[in-house]
């Protein structure tokens, strides 16, 4: 079964993470610049949080892989995405019911690999 890893990371970590993910065997990924906020309400570790919620720039990665690869990819993102402080990001794993490669009409795992 296919899974989508949807993760939010610090934009500065994108370069190393994307290369590592391809070396680990993923065959594609999509990147979006997003703004987001988590438990820190948009304030960094050094700032004193106020009531007003702020958005911080983050990078979203979406990677669809076979479920056998999920643990490896998570381990990589955890290792390379770590900043040593709060606000490093989050990883979500989402089930993917099906996939279709539009050019060849291949489906399922074949549409990814």
């Amino acid at each position: 079964m296919l899974k989508k890893i949807e993760c939010f990371i610090q934009p500065s970590k994108l370069d190393t993470i994307k290369d590592a993910i391809f070396s680990a065997g993923a065959e594609g990924l999509s990147v979006t610049d997003v703004r987001g906020v988590g438990r820190q309400r948009g304030y960094t570790a050094e700032e004193k949080p106020k009531k007003k919620v702020k958005f911080l720039p983050k990078t979203k990665l979406e990677i669809v892989v076979d479920e056998e690869m999920v643990e490896d990819i998570i381990a990589l993102i955890k290792k390379l995405g770590r900043t040593g402080t709060i606000g490093a990001g989050k990883i979500f794993v989402v089930p993917v019911e099906d996939a279709v490669r539009i050019s060849t009409e291949e489906v399922g795992k074949s549409a990814i690999y």
């Binding site: 079964m1 019911e97 099906d98 060849t104 009409e105 291949e106 399922g108 074949s110």
Partner: protein
């Protein structure tokens, strides 16, 4: 079974022995696997419509149940023999192991001519047979299914007879039931779908594009017709199909739906207006990319194997290729998707039906088809990788994988006492 000159049980044993040598199988496990676990012969007295009583002979064989309850069809045919049933039970053991579903192998049959019997006689035959083998079957013991000349209705009678004996409804005792009593969606097309999924994986590894592949399908029953339809929808060109009466050919491609209509109206695919007629033998040696025997056993033999021009042989039928022909195909470099892998979609959806019956919770057809695809793709990948790693044919790899899974289960459980 049908018109085979050699003994199918001896052929099944030879296959096992040859794989055992190649994989250096533990000799103790090998000895055990050479014997079916349980073989039951029953006499089935049936009151015929004219008031007389006829006694039929029936069999139920469990070859191995190390990985789970026995699973296998029940065949009604005059050529049914104990050795044939034993062989098919052994093949079921391997088939369930290849797709890694938790079933062992079993098979059953009754020596009879169902076409000469009334529906009432068939019902009495089925119910008495069920009663005679009732100690052997059950959702946790052994789960029959349809096979040659047995259908949904016969499965319903088996389920009903078993349920009456127990005093409550037991849908999990058979698969291939009608939808109204716990059958599964997608069961009808399951074998064809499974074949198509393995083919989709194969063309990917072979670097081919499924679009415009020229396909020849021998047999236009459930599996042949559904496969032709599914492959046509995938963009393949169906250039030849056949049934027991003969075949038809059009190099520009046939519309499988129209051929099906024609066959329903006239009783055969032959004489279809947009094609030329040919014999089944000519059909098999047509110039094509994918050849799919979906009819009966021993169609590709040493006498025609050399003339087969397909790149891929997709064995939808059971045992369509004789061992001698297999060697020739290997030398010619034809990629074979062996029967026990290719047509395992049927037993896989049977497994889904059993699971749904046990849970009393039913899945959508889409869910079933996606789960089937996942299992078939995984099974194909495992067999393909093993065949590359060990440098053996797909068939040998499939057997090695299956036998090793059964042997593992057996060795882990240990020998009692």
């Amino acid at each position: 079974m049908q018109s085979t000159k050699f003994n199918p049980w001896e052929m099944a044993l030879e296959q096992l022995d040859s794989v055992a040598r190649k994989m250096k199988l533990n000799p103790n496990v090998h000895a055990i696997l050479r014997h079916p676990k349980k073989s039951l012969i029953v006499s089935i007295p049936v009151r015929m419509d004219n008031g007389s009583v006829r006694v039929f002979t029936g069999y139920r064989v469990q070859h191995n149940i190390s990985r789970g309850p026995g699973k296998g069809g029940i065949r009604y045919h005059p050529d049914v023999t104990l050795d044939g049933v034993k062989a098919m039970a052994m093949w079921m053991t391997w088939k369930c192991a290849i797709v890694n579903i938790p079933f062992g192998g079993a098979k059953g049959g009754i020596v009879c001519k169902p076409e000469e019997m009334s529906s009432d006689e068939l019902e009495r035959l089925t119910r008495r047979y069920t009663s005679e083998i009732i100690l052997m079957i059950g959702p946790e013991r052994d789960i029959p299914a349809p096979d040659v000349n047995t259908n949904q209705q016969i499965m319903a009678w088996i389920m009903d007879t078993y349920s009456i004996d127990k005093g409550y409804s037991v849908p999990g005792v058979v698969t291939g039931k009608p939808l109204s009593i716990g059958g599964s969606l997608g069961r009808n097309e399951a074998t064809a779908r499974g074949c198509v999924y393995t083919l989709m994986s194969a063309v990917k590894y072979l670097g081919l594009d499924l679009h415009r592949q020229r396909v020849v399908v021998q047999g236009y029953g459930n599996v042949g017709w559904n496969s032709a339809k599914l492959l046509f929808e995938q963009g393949c060109k169906i250039i030849g199909v056949s049934d027991v009466e003969g075949g038809i050919y059009n190099s520009d491609g046939l519309d499988p739906y129209k051929v099906y209509e024609h066959s329903r109206k006239t009783g055969s695919v032959v004489n279809y207006k947009e094609a030329e007629n040919l014999t089944n033998q000519e059909l098999l040696t047509l110039n094509c990319d994918i050849l799919m025997p979906a009819a009966i056993e021993t169609q590709i033999t040493k006498s025609n194997a050399r003339r087969i021009k397909a790149k891929v042989l997709l064995e939808a039928a059971n045992g369509p290729t004789t061992p001698e022909a297999d060697k020739i195909l290997e030398d010619k470099g034809i990629f074979v998707i062996p029967d026990i892998l290719a047509n395992a979609g049927g037993v896989t959806v049977s497994y889904f039906e059993w699971v749904q019956g046990m849970q009393a919770y039913f899945w959508s057809e889409r869910e079933i088809n996606l789960k089937l695809r996942d299992i078939m793709q995984k099974a194909f990948d495992n067999v393909y990788r093993l065949s590359r790693k060990k440098k053996v044919t797909m068939r040998t790899a499939a057997y090695i994988l299956a036998v090793s899974r059964v042997a593992d289960a057996h060795l882990t459980r240990g020998l009692y006492p």
